[in-house]
Amino acid sequence: MLNLRHKYVFLLPGLLVLLAIILFPLLFTIRVSFSSWDVVMPGLDWFGGRNYTRMWADGRFWEAMQRLVMVAVSSVALQYVLGFSLALLVWRNIRMKRFFRVLFLVPMMTTPVIMTVIWRTIFHESLGPLNNFIEMLGLPAVPWLSTASTAVISLVIVEVWQWTPFMFLLLLAGLLSLPREPFQAAAIDGAGPVRTFFNVTMPLMAPISIGALIIRLIEASKIMETVYVLTAGGPGTATETASYYIYIRGLREFQIGYAAALSVTYLVLMIIALTIIAKILARIMILKD
């Protein structure tokens, strides 16, 4: 009993700091979401649930949420496929393995805002190098950022380029930690590389894959700076994601109370969605095994 009490006493300072860091901003945001804090009404008055009522009728927010789901899911799926492929490539004994491992990590080590500025220059339709290259091949120039569909594709390309290395890193770590015996057993049983991959590698990698996908989905759902620099949400509202919309409402328009309500709702929806996704992934990838 005394030991238990000692444990709590020693844990308390850390717990209090943790609570202060995590809990206070969250509780404060919830409180702000019930205020009318904006550019003319500073402070925490009581505004009831009017920010939430307004949010239900705010079509732009819900459209931005749908767009976010589309961008996040498609970019993370592509990152997973590419990251896994690259990890498998350098997992094997190939030449210059170490060089490639470092090379594949470079995009993740760059600053997202700076890289997005560079990507914007690459995508620049009249002055950028990408269209020059495409035209050299005899193909027509692509309006990368000026039509709705291509702007979304451009956004996904930048996201995939920037974050595939993260997926690669986690999956490579997973591959390197796998036991050798199941692979030896599969080889003795005469399984080819494809069968080994689907029946041995994939099931063994399921827990780490789920972790990597969830971490990336959480990060991808916060996509803001790429949108801000690349398209500013346009053309029209074609690339306006939820977090960019919240930024506009909160920091550009200074509707702090309303932006807090949007943030709280967004957080709740994300927790629910990601919990469901994690359960589905676990069922597909682990229970099947």
Partner: protein, 507 residues
């Protein structure tokens, strides 16, 4: 003896001026100019042991001159000067949050002048001695108006901004090209006086190599990217159609009822023209932000452009391949102007032009500052008559003409080597806006960020083809009504009355 007495007297008389003639050229200026905040006057002050906090834009635009003059001010007075640089997207909230939470975070702020409607209650009025200074007396009426709310000057003028037309002189004055244009259209090629003429000329010169450099050229570079100052470009496009010189009482709202006018036929026509203009822009031009517009026109890609000074200055840089091949002119206007009193389009034989005195950089001192004396001295020093000519010559500083003595063509020809005709067009265009009686100012009311953000979103939807011009602006009008309701009709009206007073020349 007599000779000696005279010499002594002369030396005695000259002594003060010899002391005055201290050399400050190490600060990069030509010479000090006597005045309230000259180098000499500021040098005589002692702010040792005191700290001045300044928030400004990121380097270089406005951030660089802020830091430069802060360093000089510190060296001259002994003050410690801290400068915080913030990207434009964060500047508003970085200033507003300390204001709202009662912190005295900054003594001096540099920001966009249109935020006066939100910031005014936190700003210190400019004291009389600065308002009556020689340098301030030279500030043109437009920029005194921009700095003033009601009858009180609360912003310190340090820059002058406006939108105007920039065009390629080498094209519009080229005999072969003039002939080609006339053969095709039956009309003379001349500087466009209306947006219809602008579009017609831009369409003709779009998509072919008219300057013979082996690259395709295009008609028009405009600021179209949403949330990248596009709302200002749109207001320029609309002003000629919707700002009727004989209809008073509001351009953005009907002041009496506070009904948004943003979906009236004049505004819709402006948006339709803006949408159409996308055909004459370079590839990707419908995603051009201000930086793209500057490099597109300034780099010689397009025939026309309109917005702030930057693209013109870029084109006139010493290494520019189109240096002295550009000219400035007033924004185009319209023969047809919407009259909201009669509900009809009125015809004007001479196109109606409505110069847009768009927002630009301004500065102010916080009412909560404990260093107001030092803060105003800093701003007065920043904009003294030795520093301003220096800053005007450096394009990246973002300081543009705002005093009557800046409109002397000789300054631009002698200091910057501009061609006399170019300099003449530049100063005449800029100074001519001060003479207009049909000006448009920004919507300087509380919540201007909300109004302009929703306007940009609506216009952007129409530009992207998601909605028609009328549908998009109807949506903006509904949003504006909701914003007015949230902020308070009377509060918005009171602030808007000050804008209308400027536009209707009631002062």
């Amino acid at each position: 003896m007599r000779k000696m007495l005279i010499t002594t007297a002369l030396v005695a008389l000259m002594a003060p001026s010899m002391v005055m003639a201290k050399d400050y050229s190490k600060y990069g200026i030509d010479k000090d100019v006597a005045g309230l905040c000259s180098y000499e006057a500021i040098d005589a002050k002692d702010y040792s042991g005191r700290t001045l906090s300044i928030i400004t834009h990121a380097v270089p635009v406005m951030g660089e001159p802020t830091a430069l003059h802060a360093k000089q001010f510190g060296e001259l007075t002994g003050a410690k000067v801290k400068v915080v640089h913030v990207p434009f997207g964060d500047l508003f909230q970085r200033i507003m949050i300390p204001f709202q939470t009662g912190q005295s975070a900054y003594d001096v702020m540099f920001y966009g002048s249109l935020w006066i409607g939100d910031f005014n209650r936190y700003l210190a009025p400019v004291p009389e001695k600065y308002r009556n200074s020689k340098a301030m007396k030279l500030v043109t009426p437009n920029y005194i108006d921009v700095a003033t709310l009601g009858k009180q000057m609360i912003q310190y003028p340090i820059d002058g901004d406006r939108h105007y037309l920039k065009y390629r002189r080498d094209v519009l004055e080229n005999a072969d090209l003039k002939k080609k244009f006339k053969d095709k259209t039956g009309r003379e090629l001349q500087v466009p006086a209306t947006w219809e003429e602008y579009d017609e000329i831009a369409a003709f010169f779009n998509g072919w190599d008219w300057d013979g450099d082996g690259e395709k050229n295009y008609g028009s570079a405009e600021v179209v990217k949403r949330d990248d100052l596009m709302f200002s470009a749109f207001i320029s496009r609309v002003a000629g159609y919707a700002k009727h010189p004989d209809v008073k009482g509001g351009f953005f709202f009907d002041l009496e009822t506070m009904t948004p006018l943003v979906n009236s036929p004049g505004w819709v026509r402006g948006l339709e023209m803006f949408i159409k203009a996308q055909r004459f822009m370079p590839p990707g031009g419908n995603n051009f932000g201000l930086g793209d517009e500057i490099f597109s026109f300034g780099g010689g890609q397009t025939l026309f452009s309109y917005s702030w000074d930057d693209a013109f200055i870029q084109a006139m840089e010493k290494k520019s391949r189109i240096r002295n091949k550009v000219m400035a002119a007033p924004l185009p206007g319209s023969h047809e102007v919407w009259n909201r009193k009669t509900g009809k389009w009125d015809h004007f034989d001479t196109p109606n032009r409505a110069p847009y005195i768009t927002w630009g950089w301004t500065s102010a001192v916080a009412a909560s500052s404990k260093n107001k004396d030092m803060a105003f001295d800093y701003l007065c020093f920043f904009s003294n008559q030795a520093n301003t000519p220096h800053d005007l010559q450096i394009g990246r500083f973002g300081v543009n003409p705002y005093r009557s003595n800046h409109f002397d063509p000789a300054f631009w020809t002698e200091k910057l080597g501009w061609d006399a005709k170019v300099a003449d067009s530049y100063v005449k265009t800029l100074s001519g806006m001060d003479d207009s009686k049909n000006r448009v100012f920004d919507l300087r009311v509380p919540g201007v960020g909300q109004f302009m953000s929703s306007l940009a979103a609506g216009v952007s939807e129409a530009m992207a083809g998601q909605k028609t011009a009328q549908e998009a602006l109807d949506g903006v009008a509904r949003e504006w009504s909701r914003i007015v309701e949230r902020i308070g009709k009377e509060r918005v009206r009171d602030a808007y009355a000050n804008v209308v007073a400027l536009e209707d020349n009631l002062r």
